[in-house]
């Protein structure tokens, strides 16, 4: 166990460095990229821009710039080019919004896809199964910006059942919080429900024909118990793998489309505007942040695997 944690931590550090270095390098390749001008502002004259470049060491080779920036990142002093805001503070303020969006959405999509996948597998070949699977394909295929816009148009603008974008803190009013987030939750969950329920259905159908399921029936267990304790229990692993990765990416800011459409002041929205402005520090911090979640949830998934399947031993 200790060995597992140590090895995972080493690979996490290596991954964080590699990711941030790659992201930083990409910007060097963008022709119109000029951080000095971004910092100096749109209307600044060339002298000011040169001044800024000298002051922030932006004339030095890019690996030195990278080292300087990383130093600022890890001392928590890094500032974005566009609004002069402390990036780490921004992440700290915006994380609760993203968590509010992603965690309930994740619960929603997990529960829904287990239910739909199970129903589909239990009614395989019948109308229910076909209906669910067609719906799942649609869910996977509809782009999230389109779905989010459609939901907004229909339920917030036409029917006015839900507020037209915006965010309320949970601490201020839990009901308003949920009220504002229901549409965003649905738009994030839909894609995953479509994908997960199809994966689960095919796992379940493979598992139904396993010998130990036949044994469970031969023991005289009730159908429900055979299904839940034996079929579903043994089919859930691939879903957990998918879930760990998807959940980590969304927490790291991958919900940027949803946050932008619904005007939720989360990490994704910050990232989206940073990408638009070629503002490196938030993107750099964002990628480190995401990489951290991916490694952390990867390790958690492996731990969960070892708990769920006694045949699996932990390895770094």
């Amino acid at each position: 166990m200790a060995r597992f944690i140590v090895r995972r931590s080493i690979s996490a550090v290596a991954l964080l460095i590699a990711t941030s270095f790659l992201v930083f390098s990409f910007f060097e390749l963008i022709p119109s990229y000029n951080p000095a001008r971004a910092i100096a502002g749109r209307d600044a004259n060339q002298t000011t821009v040169n001044e800024v470049a000298r002051k922030f060491d932006l004339n030095k080779p890019f690996y030195i710039q990278y080292a300087n920036t990383m130093k600022l990142v890890f001392t928590g002093q890094v500032i974005d080019y566009t609004d002069d805001l402390n990036v780490v503070d921004q992440f700290r303020q915006r994380l609760p919004v993203t968590v509010s969006l992603v965690v309930p959405a994740a619960i929603l999509w997990l529960v829904t896809s287990v239910l739909l996948g199970s129903v589909s597998a239990l009614r395989v070949g019948r109308l229910t199964d076909r209906g669910v699977m067609v719906a799942a394909i649609i869910g996977v295929s509809v782009p999230i910006f389109l779905l989010a816009a459609l939901l907004l148009y229909l339920f917030a603008y036409k029917l006015t059942w839900f507020p037209n974008t915006g965010y309320t803190h949970f601490g201020d009013s839990p009901t308003q919080w949920a009220y504002h987030l229901i549409l965003p939750w649905i738009s994030i969950a839909t894609l995953s429900v479509g994908f997960y329920s199809r994966v689960l259905r095919s796992n379940l159908l493979d598992m139904v024909n396993q010998d130990f399921v036949r044994t469970a029936r031969a023991k005289g267990l009730p159908r429900r118990q055979v299904f839940i304790r034996h079929v579903l229990r043994n089919s859930i692993m691939p879903i957990i793998t998918l879930f760990g990765l998807d959940f980590a990416l969304l927490l790291g800011g991958a919900a940027l489309v949803t946050e932008t459409v619904f005007n939720l002041p989360g990490i994704g929205q910050y990232e989206a505007s940073a990408i638009g402005n070629l503002d490196v520090p938030p993107i750099l911090v964002g990628s480190i942040f995401t990489a951290f979640f991916v490694v952390a949830f990867g390790a958690l998934v492996d731990l969960l695997y070892a708990v769920l399947d006694p045949r699996i031993r932990l390895s770094g």
Partner: protein, 345 residues
């Protein structure tokens, strides 16, 4: 006369597939008494496994069709509701499967898997059920059973897993125990131990055992009576001695002839039955064995009924039109029983 446990009559199982209707079991009848071991032998695809799984309702599926009856006490297993079957399975009929690694759930502890079965049928506490599971595991020869009950199947050897399977099958003292090739996946020494366990069970007199196998050596060890199945039908049925020393059906001769014996000079080529078993979606008219049988004649296009044809043993039945004296002459090949390709003139 011993108490009758199970009476299977004219059992039919067919599956609707893309290639047509597959008649996996075509009119199988047999009975099982308390304390008796009935072996069902035949090659792969002869319908022996489908027959016994149907008794437990494990072949039920939307494309399966059933006929005939299988009476257990006053209930018919073929027509029983799923709910009735749930209470019968594991409690009145239990089954030991061929491959003990794939037949046990990989993610549950051995003891818990036995506990699960006990608690599906009896309202007792987990602790009491666990104690009983440990007793059962001890009874089938698993050492340090209390510790081992907390282990997972992958931590058991093949033989120990099969013992655990047997412990599970015995957990509610079922009247009928079905063993579907329980020793096929095991090596020979473990096989002998497992066979002994099963034999002991039947000799203790509480259960009747249906033993499905393709291994005639195992049959000779354990069976009281033998059913020989071919392409979905019972072609011959009799006591162990009748089948081994006075076999009536050419298919049985072929099976016996293809057994290599340690006490004889080994043949230069292992004898085999020529040809392939028929597709069950498209069986030949009349006797199913006709296309592979060197002794087939005109009448074989008519289905021979399973009936007593040997005057001195009325319980011995078979499906072959040949005259008894003729059969006894034709089955001798080089001083032993076999299926002779060349018909003596």
């Amino acid at each position: 006369m011993a108490e009758r446990l199970l009476e299977v009559e004219d059992l039919e199982v067919s599956f609707v597939t893309e290639d047509g209707v597959v008649r996996a079991v075509d009119g199988v009848s047999f009975s099982l008494d308390r304390g008796e071991v009935v072996a069902i032998v035949g090659e792969s695809g002869s319908g022996k496994s489908v027959t016994v799984m149907t008794l437990m309702g494990l072949t039920r599926s939307p494309n399966a069709r059933f006929g005939g009856s299988a009476r257990l006490g006053d209930r018919d297993l073929v027509g029983a509701s799923e709910r009735e079957l749930e209470s019968i399975r594991g409690q009145e009929i239990a089954m030991i499967f061929q491959d003990p690694i794939s037949s046990l759930s990989p993610v549950h502890r051995i003891g818990d898997q036995i506990v699960e079965q006990i608690r599906a049928h009896e309202k007792i506490s987990k602790a009491a059920a666990f104690d009983r599971a440990v007793d059962l595991m001890e009874r089938v020869g698993i050492p340090r059973a209390r510790d081992r009950a907390r282990a997972y199947p992958h931590e058991f050897s093949g033989g120990m897993r099969q013992r655990a399977m047997i412990a599970m099958a015995l957990s509610l003292s079922p009247g009928v125990l079905i063993a579907d090739e329980p020793t096929t996946a095991l090596d020979v020494t473990i096989q002998a131990q497992i066979l002994n366990e099963i034999k002991q069970l039947s000799q203790e007199g509480d259960s009747g055992v249906i033993f499905v196998t393709h291994d005639l050596g195992v049959v000779a060890d354990i069976a009281d009576r033998v059913l020989v199945m071919y392409a979905g039908r019972v072609v011959e049925q009799g006591t162990l001695d009748e089948i081994f020393y006075d076999p009536q059906h050419p298919y049985t001769w072929g099976l016996l002839g293809s057994v290599t014996r340690m006490d004889r000079e080994p043949p230069r080529r292992l004898p085999a039955i020529p040809g392939q078993p028929p597709s069950l979606a498209n069986t030949p008219e009349g006797c199913h064995f006709r296309p592979r049988c060197p002794h087939a004649f005109d009448r074989c296009t008519e289905v021979p009924p399973l009936e007593s044809r040997v005057p001195e043993s009325p319980e011995h039945t078979d499906r072959c039109w040949l005259d008894v004296a003729e059969k006894r002459a034709r089955r001798e090949v080089d001083g032993r029983i076999g299926l002779n390709a060349a018909v003596p003139s």
